[in-house]
Symmetry: C2
Subunit: 340 residues, 2 copies
């Protein structure tokens, strides 16, 4: 059974995915590439190689777990957290731990092995975005979960272990530390100024315009002022809403557009770099505490896209203090000029 | 001039090392190995290829910036922060920035290109530790600096750009976010319990013993309860002191011993993995605020060693929520059995 443990000093939770445990000798080879399985379990026609699908975008006449789909969401065969069981919490001397209850799903973005997300049609990307939404609505109904992470690892250095285009969803029984900090930071700003920090950021970025890469009717894509990584991008909705899963149908299409353009600009401008993207959405709202009451006004969901062009040095992980060799104004200028 | 910028939501500071700026096309090749210079500037006899030394361990009869040294500390030729200038702070709309004043030094650990830190004699490692101490005492005298980071990147994935054995020291005008969190966490624990959290952790680890890898008269090396990475190690002093640079001569030798043993166990047990180490010490104490008054009792310096055996996925950087496939009890058991 996986287990969560909390760092007693800084409150960070760690998932120990013991069912994935490799033996120490598995760590001896430091140069392993992505070890592709002989048969691609995510390809059309191989549906029986994954656990049964939870959700799919497929024509009305096609059968679940058969071919014909456009997007498939399936449980991860090697999940870091388990859906079955009750959430047990206990102390361990001065430490705290809880059972590794959660969900870990894979969003197979396309039946085509060699078609990256940004190469899909607008409708294709919209199907992926809509799949995220549907799964989040469902997962947030489970009262054991506090947070749902939607993310994509593209490339081995970015954490991918299979090359068929896919993203992942992890539901967790705790709110991740950085999410808590973002929620608290937004709340504090609102209390001090009676203004939403995301609205203020968006206003300043649009007025300044040097860091804006692309915008459409519903979203703005910009290189954040304090970017941790070269060519880091933030996608921010214009409409105030703390929850990604309350995105409306028009916004699904607009988000597909801004995602496609942003990823294409990275791909064409920077020679298809490895990257991660991450949807930052608000936590679940139960138990209803005062803490969450202001969320509707003060927090806004957003997406972070981080290309992996530099190594992450040890002191950056250990101190949260990043060194970035490229100013966001220069990165934005460069990406703005990339034709897509 | 380098510049520091603060993330307005979570308070994280980023160093923009613009004098190191590479042009976007420099990012097109994603497979660059360590690009060794033709002539090794850190080798004995090439002292004129580095800026003049700030400190060295060398026999009394040998001349500065000539051969004969055992350890040399020199300014980094490509510093991320600049020592010259005054610290200017200014707002930028809702954002905050300051000039990139600081220090960036390289500790050349040995004249021998192929002798890793853990392969040096005990005296050799002690010379490196003593060099860290001497430089920290000096850098903490500069009232522009709030924190001094001592760290080592071994291997390209861990952030190294030269293979000659070296560590680095960066003095910064702000206290890094994670350090602030550790200081605050330790203070809160002390306020609640009138006990030092590091003393409590050490007591529990020694009593439990399953996570202890090695100990000597002054230090204990263990795999922390909520390890972020497989085979992560913490080296904790037995004596309560917030500041690394107040280490006594006996402790310098004992630290050399525990560092050498820990790194040798990683090297022999895990096929010389890439790794980082990081000394976590307290911040500078000026301006004297109440905040710092309890530090003597509540905070303790320590070292984190993090092998790079797994990829750091995007959501781990974005959320502070790590997945670790190896329990610290299993990692410690494995390392305990590695003969050194």
């Amino acid at each position: 059974m996986p287990e969560l443990r909390q760092d007693p000093l800084v409150g960070r939770w760690i998932i120990f995915a013991t069912e994935r445990t490799r033996r120490p000798h598995d760590f001896l080879d430091h140069h392993n590439q992505i070890a592709e399985p002989k048969i691609n379990p995510f390809a059309e026609g191989n549906e029986q190689l994954t656990p049964p699908e939870i959700f799919a975008v497929r024509p009305p006449n096609s059968k679940p777990n058969g071919p014909g789909w456009k997007v498939r969401v399936v449980p991860n065969k090697f999940p870091v957290l388990r859906i079955e069981g009750t959430l047990e919490k206990e102390g361990d001397g001065l430490y705290d731990r809880m059972s590794g209850i959660g969900a870990h799903e894979v969003v197979i973005e396309t039946p085509k092995h060699d078609e990256q997300l940004e190469e899909q049609s607008l409708e294709g990307v919209a199907n992926v975005v809509e799949s995220f939404r549907v799964r989040l609505v469902d997962l947030f109904k489970d009262s054991r979960f506090r947070y749902v992470l939607v993310f994509k690892n593209f490339g081995r250095d970015a954490g991918a272990t299979l090359s068929h285009p896919h993203s992942q969803i992890i539901a967790t029984p705790v709110t991740p530390k950085v999410v808590k900090e973002k929620l608290a930071g937004a709340q504090k700003y609102y209390e001090q100024k009676e203004r939403n920090i995301f609205a203020d950021i968006l206003r300043q970025e649009l007025k300044d315009s040097r860091r804006v890469v692309y915008q459409n009717a519903s979203f703005v894509c910009f290189c954040p002022y304090a970017s941790r990584f070269p060519f880091e991008l933030t996608i921010m909705p214009r409409r105030q809403c703390p929850d990604f899963h309350r995105i409306d149908p028009q916004e699904v299409l607009q988000l597909a557009d801004v995602l496609k353009v942003s990823l294409l600009k990275l791909r064409r401008g920077l020679n298809q770099p490895q990257y991660n993207f991450l949807i930052h959405t608000a936590s679940a709202r139960y138990p209803k505490r005062d803490y969450w009451m202001t969320l509707e006004q003060d927090y806004r969901w957003h997406i972070e896209i981080t290309p992996r062009l530099t190594q992450i040095a040890g002191f950056e992980v250990g101190t949260g203090f990043y060194v970035n060799p490229v100013l966001p104004e220069d990165a934005a200028q460069f990406l703005k000029e990339v034709e897509v």
